[in-house]
């Protein structure tokens, strides 16, 4: 007994309007396909806008000796070799063209003295490699792509929440069902291909740099629809989030502060990162403050300071300092650029950070140190895809950007996300176009799946006396922060798994008050199934990976293990419902060809 829903049909339907979704749309549109983009927010507000430091691309504008091979090596080492090597290879090779392409579409990057795109230093990158605009590079990226998408006349469905993917009778992806936030009315999209570009999952943690949108919708919908998720245990906790005042706890402080000369100190004033240099990075890291300081001026005069180790290393070190009682007054450590650079330099290079601390914390970062601590920031894990086409195992379903898995392995380097978005957004657009050309695409969808999704979404509105969705979200965030945070162990993970089953039952008893028109309580009720699904998936992966690698740290297995380094855990849904159990298989990581392997084995 289905209502006659509003209905649209496209060759390519893209869910998500951040960098990956918009770049995929441009590609498909330029190939003559009909393209629709669906976004939960207004166009231009996606989480890409929050990216600050820059996009990594070995253009060699500042250090001519940089090239894709060095970038590839840095990415694989940063990811602790868990990466899909082919994605890391394509990314390193194609990122420069994607940056130059943005410039052709109107982006205005900061310049070198000879008029080229300026590149800045970031953690884990051997050379200054990040194209940037001050500390608002994400805004430049999304605005450029947004303006290009609009100039091509692409259809954009704003403030539309997708609930579920739908299949055809043969199990191919055939579209999706969602609702308009502004009216609460349902809408169906029939499409030959669907590209997921839904971003991350950070909203399931209490301390996070992510916005309300990062509820893992794409991860969860892909799992329910039959795709595999890999590396879900690999969650990045960014070392530098704000810690005070409490209302902004978790808000991102860009890595550019360290790239531009900022250093970390504990309550004793020590640059403690010198005590946390792991063996793997010892040969390329400075062993004295003097050497590190020389490096900022000339990379051939010294090795990189340890503040610019990959993010996983820095986040763990900060965690250890705070635990050892050497933290700042509000439970972080100090990030100091005031004593190292002039106020003019700081204001020009880090205008958003200056503004953010001045307005929200009353701290002048040109005069005082910032208090910072780790914050849940990025999901390395995601939908398992073919590196070249971004196609999943479900025919017609593609995934690009943060929702895709494999590119970053166990830990992402700063700056590799914005370039990931445009490299693999474009490839997903090409992949979708080629899939359509091959003639296998679905032509009708299963109305039964649509009706079931609508019925489930409406249930909380008619239920009396149930729970407030905000209470469940709050408890979920507290629990994930405590049990599946930066440092994990078997006992806490086991407890998390039990609690997640309890949350599942609680979600089935939500009551929502008010109308369907722009009702945030109802919106949250429809986000919670995805939030709980991805939380279960992260917990399951973290339980199985009995080693420490990249963003995944087990205090009961503190070292990396060669055996676990050979596998990704691939998770799939056993039943396809949001509360179905999750199956896991060990998926061997791709074996590197000898020529790429040789790049990793170079010592310098």
């Amino acid at each position: 007994m289905s209502e006659p829903y509003e209905h649209h049909e496209y060759d390519v339907l893209i869910i998500g309007a951040g960098g990956a979704g918009l770049r995929a749309a441009i590609e498909a549109k330029q190939r003559g396909l009909s393209v629709g983009i669906v976004t939960k927010s207004l166009l231009g507000k996606a989480h890409t806008v929050m990216a600050e430091g820059g996009m990594a691309a070995a253009m060699g504008n500042v250090y001519p000796e940089d090239n894709w091979m060095v970038h590839f090596r840095d990415t694989m080492r940063g990811g602790k070799y868990l990466n899909n090597y082919r994605m890391a290879e394509l990314h390193a090779k194609e990122a420069p063209d994607r940056v130059w392409e943005l410039e052709q579409w109107g982006a205005l990057f900061d310049r070198t003295t000879d008029g080229k795109i300026l590149q800045r230093d970031f953690g884990g990158h051997r050379y200054a490699r990040l194209a940037h605009v001050g500390d608002r590079t994400g805004l430049e990226l999304i605005r450029t792509l947004q303006q290009k998408v609009v100039s091509l006349g692409t259809d954009v469905f704003m403030e539309c929440k997708v609930l579920q993917l739908v299949h055809d009778a043969q199990g191919r992806i055939a579209g999706c069902v969602g609702y308009w936030r502004a009216t609460g009315e349902f809408v169906t999209f029939q499409a030959k291909t669907v590209i997921l570009a839904t971003g991350g999952i950070g909203k399931s943690w209490k301390i996070t740099s992510n916005s309300w949108e990062s509820t893992g919708d794409g991860h969860a919908m892909a799992l329910w629809a039959g795709a595999n998720l890999i590396d879900m245990e690999c969650v990045q906790f960014h070392p530098t989030g704000m810690v005070w005042p409490l209302s902004v706890r978790g808000l991102l402080v860009t890595e550019s502060v360290r790239g531009d000369g900022g250093v970390l100190r504990n309550s004793l004033g020590e640059r403690f990162m010198f005590n946390y240099v792991p063996e793997m990075f010892r040969a390329e890291t400075a062993d004295s403050e003097e050497e590190g300081d020389r490096w900022y001026d000339d990379h051939s005069a010294g090795r990189r300071p340890p503040e610019l180790l990959p993010r996983d290393e820095v986040a763990r070190a900060i965690n250890s300092e705070v635990k050892a009682g050497r933290g700042s007054p509000h439970g972080g450590v100090f990030l100091d650029i005031a004593s190292r650079r002039t106020p003019e330099f700081i204001r020009r290079r880090l205008p958003s950070m200056y503004h953010q601390f001045m307005e929200l914390a009353g701290v002048d970062i040109t005069r005082e140190a910032m208090e910072i601590g780790p914050t849940c920031h990025y999901m390395m894990g995601g939908v398992q895809v073919d590196a070249d086409s971004q196609e999943t195992v479900v025919p017609g379903l593609f995934a690009a950007g943060e929702v895709g898995g494999g590119m970053h392995g166990a830990n992402r380097l700063g700056g590799n996300s914005l370039s990931d978005l445009v490299v693999f957004g474009r490839r997903a657009g090409i992949g979708a176009a080629e899939y359509i050309t091959s003639g296998q695409a679905a032509t009708a969808f299963d109305q039964g799946e649509v009706d079931a999704a609508v019925e489930a979404a409406l249930a909380p509105l008619s239920r009396e006396g149930g729970e407030n969705p905000y209470d469940i979200q709050h408890d979920l965030q507290e629990m994930m922060q405590a049990n599946v945070g930066i440092i994990r162990n078997a006992e806490e993970l086991a407890e998390a798994a039990i609690k997640l089953d309890e949350f599942t039952e609680r979600v089935k008893n939500i009551s929502v008050k008010g109308p369907r028109v722009y009702n945030p309580g109802w919106n949250l009720a429809t986000d919670l199934p995805a939030m709980i699904t991805v939380s279960k998936s992260v917990t399951l992966g973290a339980t199985l990976r009995k080693e420490s690698r990249g963003g995944h740290t087990r205090e009961d297995f503190p070292n990396p293990s060669p055996e676990f380094g050979k596998i990704n855990f691939a998770q799939s849904s056993d039943g396809g419902a949001w509360d179905s159990p999750i199956n896991v298989v060990e998926s061997p990581i791709l074996i590197l060809p000898d020529d790429l392997k040789a790049l990793l084995e170079e010592t310098k």
Binding site: K45, R143, S151, Y518
Partner: protein, 259 residues
Amino acid sequence: MAQVTMRVWRGDASGGDFATYNLEQNEGEVVLDVIHRIQATEAPDLACRWNCKAGKCGSCSAEINGKPRLMCMTRMDELPAGPVTVTPMKTFPIIRDLVTDVSFNYVQAAKVPALMPPPMPEGGYRMFQEDVARGQEFRKCIECFMCQDVCHVIRDHEDNKTHYAGPRFFIRYAELEMHPLDQNDRRDFIREEAGLGYCNITKCCTEVCPEHIKITDNAIIPLKERVVDAHYDPVAWLGRKIRRKPKTSALDAAVQPAP
């Protein structure tokens, strides 16, 4: 703990009224924090937009004590004592509570004649920092649409929305007109379709800009001059000598003034 009284406009296109909420105010909170606590407790259906909560996305624009502000960047302890009034932006039609229909801005965005650059040379375009800096100021815009909200041309005259783009798009046009690579000519369009002449330079837009973009002085006034100046040459930058200089470090490359 300090107590605060929030008067929040609740309603839809058919009408509405202020609802009053009394709650605690914690140290360092911004208006959006308090709105979120109302949502999480007393009124889970209280509609508001937000995303980044850091002044970067421009979603949470509202009128706080009658002035357009970002809720995420307005600290409670900076507001005068007494009840805090939060209302939706006035210039746009109400959807519900604090959420307005800002589609006017997206209609205007779709009309913008795109950038038209020359083919890219091998190794990328050469542009100098001093030449991109002007456009970069306008590209700081986070599209909060508060400049549109406060602009009298459309705030007080709904019928002008068909032929007036508003300050947000005047800085977009200024950015494109000043873009070192652009070869498109929008001068007639800006005058005839975007309604630049309706702006009478009251600078209300500049005053509310959370990015402190000098909308009137740096965009609208130069744009007005260019639109009427037939002798303006948008590719004057081409005459600039391109001088190569070997860099010594990233820091040098960053801090030295352009040649």
